[in-house]
Symmetry: C2
Subunit: 349 residues, 2 copies
């Protein structure tokens, strides 16, 4: 972890910016002491925050801009009019090599649009995807796409499989990750054209040995595979349904433990165990969705997260830099191209 590099941060993105951004850097300092930050945002707000925490100020360079992207701003409008926003400038720093990666908790659509325009997609990849790591009964699962592409064809899904595979090997350190395609049944005939064709393509590719086949929604939590591939519509709904179910379970637990004196006594004794579970599924722990497939590292933090969550998003970007994820994916795609897989994918479609 002594690798030295800089991340650029959109200090004005997110519901509780810029305070959460500055506090998040403070927490990230412990795990990544060698990382430096370029902070884009309003100096009138940022200077007092930095002055209050000298350890954070020492690793930050402040770049003032008065403009920022709002949550309801349209991505297309921001592409034309948002070139002085903290989000645009933070991505630009990554594009120009001043920073090794960029993190923002702002408007997802605008971030995706700006990152695509400025960083552009890697050779061989037609569309970037949003990916995240989720807890499962067997460890961790990487799932993509989570909302960048509402409609995906078989080629898009196959490319997501390659990106997920590289991520699992490089960042999660899984030697032979298994890849599953999210569907509504395990049989070949199930689902729509896109998943059936993508399955056929993957079975004929060098990924075939690691391709598990179709998986279903409950396989995400079960950890049946290491990589879950799906279109952005289904992936977004699945991710948020999982979050909603965890909240429902927690609220039922809360109600049950408040029920009687005995239950409340039980709660006191059970509390350490319950806290452990809450930590294991804490969405802040898994905060930091990666925009994979771009010519640069770009991480989206949840807009409503706190400093713990923002520190994790910084950690996700740092890990991608440390593991050289983009170089690996570039190399793998060119090797796949040479071996004819991606052209088979293109031809097959």
């Amino acid at each position: 972890m002594t690798q030295r590099f800089t991340l650029s941060l959109d200090a004005m993105g997110g519901d509780r910016a810029p305070a959460v951004v500055v506090a998040g850097i403070g927490l990230a300092l412990q795990r990544y002491p060698a990382v430096r930050y370029l902070l884009y945002g309003d100096e009138a707000q940022l200077v007092p925050l930095l002055e209050a925490v000298p350890a954070v100020a020492a690793v930050c360079t402040l770049r003032h801009t008065a403009e920022s992207v709002g949550n309801t701003d349209k991505p297309s409008h921001m592409l034309r009019q948002g070139r002085r926003t903290s989000m645009w400038l933070a991505i630009q720093a990554a594009k120009e090599g001043e920073a090794s990666g960029v993190v923002s908790a702002g408007n997802t659509g605008a971030l995706m649009a700006m990152a695509k325009v400025m960083l552009r997609t890697l050779p061989g990849i037609s569309r970037p995807a949003i990916a995240t790591v989720l807890p499962s009964q067997r460890g961790e699962v990487v799932m993509l796409d989570l909302g960048a592409n509402s409609d995906c064809d078989a080629q898009n899904l196959s490319e997501f499989a390659v990106m997920g595979d590289v991520f699992a090997r490089t960042v999660l350190g899984i030697a032979n990750p298994s890849i599953g395609l999210l569907n509504i049944g395990a049989e070949d005939m199930k689902g729509n054209d896109a998943v059936r064709t993508a399955s056929a393509l993957l079975k004929a590719s060098p990924l075939a040995l690691r391709f598990h086949g179709f998986v279903e929604g409950d396989d995400i939590g079960a950890g049946t595979v290491d990589v879950v591939v799906t279109d952005g519509f289904t992936g977004n709904v699945a991710l948020k349904t999982a979050e909603g179910t965890a909240q429902l379970y927690a609220s039922f637990l809360g109600a049950a433990f408040g029920g009687s004196l005995l239950a409340r006594l039980g709660y006191l004794l059970a509390r350490p165990a319950l806290t452990k579970v809450r930590k294991r599924i804490d969405p802040r722990r898994y905060n930091g969705a990666m925009l994979l497939g771009l010519n640069g590292i770009c991480v989206k933090s949840h807009g409503s997260t706190d400093e713990v969550g923002f520190a994790n998003a910084i950690g996700v970007a740092a890990d991608l830099v440390i593991h050289g994820f983009n170089d690996r994916i570039k190399r793998e795609f060119s090797e796949l191209k040479i071996s004819g897989v991606m052209s088979a994918v293109v031809a097959g479609h």
Copy 2:
């Protein structure tokens, strides 16, 4: 609950048939003492089971058939070759009015195909949908479609909204149910063509006042709306993701409570509360998916459920009969037709 009617049961459908079917009737007897059953299946297996429980035998009429649909049988093949199976004959009894509804825990694809051919869709409905009731923080939510239709257009989704609305009003007894369309964001521009067009159609329909707009995956567990409308691909993935997340949460709880002596002591005191929660989210409690939009009542039980789950599936069918669901939906659709809504839906597409 003194209404007297008959349900036909596919006694050979499901992993643990016919024992679970007979035991399920035994449990359902308590809640629905006036219901009678036509049991289709192998008499060599069924006669001893019925002889062992005279109370169940007293409400059942056994109709022998040696054939049944297997889990891997193709629906199209069963439509041609399966006319002597317990599933086919049970649906036929509902079609011919011998039974007021049919329940099967067998092959979903075959059940849907046979039910469509025999019962046919209700006037005004182009495609039936699979619906179920789920627990939420604010009570219960009905969600559809859960897998009958992988690809849905705006018209399909609008029809599902009408069916879900009628179900919530008649069976769940909610006077003014709110309806949400599952999407990946709340803004108008989010999602794919089908959901955007369906939203516009619903806003221009008599359902407009009850149409909440777009909802996201976490709104299911939150109970933001009473009816969640989606295509069968997304709905199936969302349902199974919710099940998988609940299992993940339960397994994390189990691990945490097994951690130390103190945690195990805590578990003993917390057990009544935990059991309460487990019951509240018990998938058996919500077993019984309804095939809505057909000219008859047809309920699909989970194939791996036990007698508690199967009894609930019987209860779902019984409730649909008792509340006259199909008559209500027929009336509502003809009223909508008269008021020009469904033709607007058709024209709008």
